[in-house]
Symmetry: C2
Subunit: 72 residues, 2 copies
């Protein structure tokens, strides 16, 4: 699976599991809601530093965003 889509799917899954909206995560992370929306649709190619900041906004680890989903 393409890394951008993998990260987008993991990010959306974790965000929803934590009951957070894209707006809330945008506010926490300092990124725009549009950026978050594009990330979740697999349209962004964040740097590792950005990946770390996005993971922190979710209260997750960058590793969580790169996990391959065993079901797929």
């Amino acid at each position: 699976m393409d890394m951008r889509r993998l990260i987008g799917q993991n990010f959306a899954r974790i965000r929803q599991a934590r009951g957070l909206t894209q707006e809330q995560v945008a506010e926490r992370s300092g990124f725009s809601q549009q950026y978050i929306s594009g990330l979740e649709r697999g349209h962004r190619n964040p740097t590792v530093v950005t990946l770390f900041e996005l993971a922190q906004a979710l209260g997750a680890s960058p590793l969580d965003l790169l996990q391959q989903d065993p079901n797929r």
Copy 2:
């Protein structure tokens, strides 16, 4: 630890464990030896797609490059 330094240290450790030189990894990955050298010194901020390509050149997973070293 700063993500750039973490990735650089992991990359160098895995490369050496596999008995590869920076030149060999540069050739496999399509990145320059200077880029690889800068990455290992923590001076690069690669995108996740680049991280994936670099990990592939080592025969490793991107997750291996983000692992926190428990000893440090």
